[in-house]
């Protein structure tokens, strides 16, 4: 039985440079999942993390924050964007009850991605600081293993680093909605992959027919903080093709001692 709730996908990820993978996303997530081995381009990936974090983990490049090792890593301005365009791959199990839905959630990808799940393609549009939540109920294998591959693209304007360095390099990164320190600043050397990667949490979540989205809590305080009101709103999404009647409950509790709550 599958319970309501979230499972974080932060282990078991593999990654490979896109130019070294000859298979399509459909093939990777159906007939030809990645194989690891001496001849394979696939390596253990760091998720959440960046392409550079994965390369450091696998000792493909040295730790850029140790000594002057960063100088030995090729910059995306010199290598081209393809060099830091990477596939990420993982598997997960799902078992849904009738009327349950499975959502695949990304809390941050730098910068855009194409996603393949069991052979189905979805596009994750641009924007480093935006979340993506996909209802994948009709795509997942209800009793089996699901194959997920994500092709992550670097920022559109990674820029070049002038020989003299400088604040934000050649400033090209400012054309994108992204962190700007990655072209180097007075306190940090340029980040060679511009932080390309699945840089924040990936999760799957199971819900019933109705999903709670982004509740908002605000308090107002009166009479020298003696009288206080909590105002709460939330969005609710009905994923079915019929009207649903819901019972919506809010409760506020506080822990007085360990395992003793006041309601």
């Amino acid at each position: 039985m599958s319970g309501i709730g979230k499972t974080v996908l932060d282990s078991g990820w593999l990654a490979a440079r896109s130019t070294e993978v000859k298979l399509s996303g459909v093939q990777l997530t159906t007939t030809h999942p990645p194989a690891t081995g001496a001849e394979s381009p696939w390596m253990e990936a760091v998720v959440p993390g960046t392409v550079l974090a994965t390369l450091v983990k696998n000792k493909v490049v040295p730790d850029p924050f140790y000594g002057l090792e960063n100088e030995t890593i090729i910059d995306i301005g010199d290598s081209g964007r393809e060099y830091y365009t990477f596939w990420f791959f993982t598997t997960f199990q799902s078992k849904l009850l009738e009327n349950q839905h499975l959502h695949l959630n990304f809390r941050g990808i730098n910068y855009s991605a194409e996603l393949y799940l069991n052979g189905h393609e979805k596009v994750l549009p641009k924007g480093m600081f935006r979340r993506h939540s996909l209802d994948v109920t009709n795509i997942v294998h209800p009793d089996g293993k699901n194959l997920l591959a994500v092709l992550v693209h670097p920022p559109d304007h990674p820029g070049k680093i002038p020989a003299e360095g400088g604040q934000g390099g050649d400033h090209e990164i400012g054309k994108d909605v992204a962190t700007q320190y990655v072209e180097g600043w007075d306190w940090i050397a340029p980040i060679r992959d511009r932080n390309t990667g699945i840089w924040d949490e990936v999760s799957i979540s199971v819900t019933g027919p109705v999903k709670i989205i982004d509740p908002h809590l605000v308090s107002s305080l009166f009479d020298n903080y003696k009288r206080v009101y909590l105002h709460a709103t939330t969005e609710l999404e009905n994923t079915t093709d019929s009207v649903v009647e819901c019972s919506l409950n809010i409760q506020v509790s506080t822990e007085l001692e360990e395992n003793i709550c006041l309601l």
Binding site: K126, Q167, K175, G208, P209, I213, V243, E245, C246, S247
Partner: protein, 229 residues
């Protein structure tokens, strides 16, 4: 008083916004910044049960009751802060991120933020050229009483100044910037440690972005000074 149940009908493939009746608290424990008192947190839980199906979704979040005010002092030109009516002397640290390769773990956030609290700081400023910090960062700021000054992704050096002079019009895609800004606000807005949003670092965002950000972050009239009763 601290429990409400309501019946809601949602159309097929519909998305509705629901507002609960306000919940009343008498003398709740307030959330205070580091050094001014306890960081009292209540657990707010929302559940939705669908008729004929059972539990459909669940959400919960620690929440602190506090009122943060800030204004520019005309005499000094500095920004003054008050928390729960009390003036606070801000002792802050500048923050970019906990790891340049974005291996962002809860453990590291906890250690870094506790360290700031142990240094007797009461504010962390998240610089506009870096990250909008993650919910785990804010969680530990809630726990350890660090107020957060959060900037959006604009800097002087890359958005209007610098050598050579950079483009003052910000990112190419203003709609995308605002989409990301709205999503980020929704992600972080419930944390009691979130004290101040700022458009950018040493630079005012382009006029259309600045106006839109101000509009998104405008306080609802209900929460200004009026008494609902």
């Amino acid at each position: 008083e601290h429990l409400q149940t309501q019946q809601v009908s949602i159309p097929a493939h519909g998305r509705v916004q629901h507002t609960f009746p306000q919940l009343f608290f008498y003398k709740p424990n307030l959330w205070w910044p580091n050094g001014m008192g306890k960081q009292s947190l209540y657990e707010v839980s929302i559940t939705v049960d669908v008729k004929g199906h059972g539990e459909s979704d669940f959400w919960s979040q620690p929440f602190g009751f506090r009122k943060i005010e800030s204004y520019i002092d005309s005499a000094t030109g500095g920004r003054l802060f008050k928390v729960n009516g009390q003036r606070i002397f801000i002792r802050g640290g500048n923050w970019i991120l906990s790891d340049g390769l974005l291996r962002l773990s809860r453990e590291r956030y906890r250690a870094d933020i506790k360290f700031h609290a142990d240094m007797n700081f009461n504010m962390i400023r998240c610089w506009g050229g870096g990250l909008t910090e993650r919910p785990e960062f804010y969680h530990y700021c809630d726990i350890y009483g660090l107020l957060v000054w959060q900037e959006f992704w604009i800097t002087g050096d890359v958005d209007g100044r610098g050598i050579p002079i950079s483009n003052p019009n910000g990112p190419l895609d203003h709609d995308l910037f605002l989409l990301c800004a709205r999503d980020t606000i929704k992600l972080l807005r419930n944390h009691p440690s979130l004290a101040l949003w700022v458009g950018g670092n040493e630079q005012v965002p382009p006029d259309d972005l600045n106006k839109a950000l101000k509009s998104y972050l405008k306080l609802h009239p209900l929460f200004q000074n009026s008494d609902p009763n």
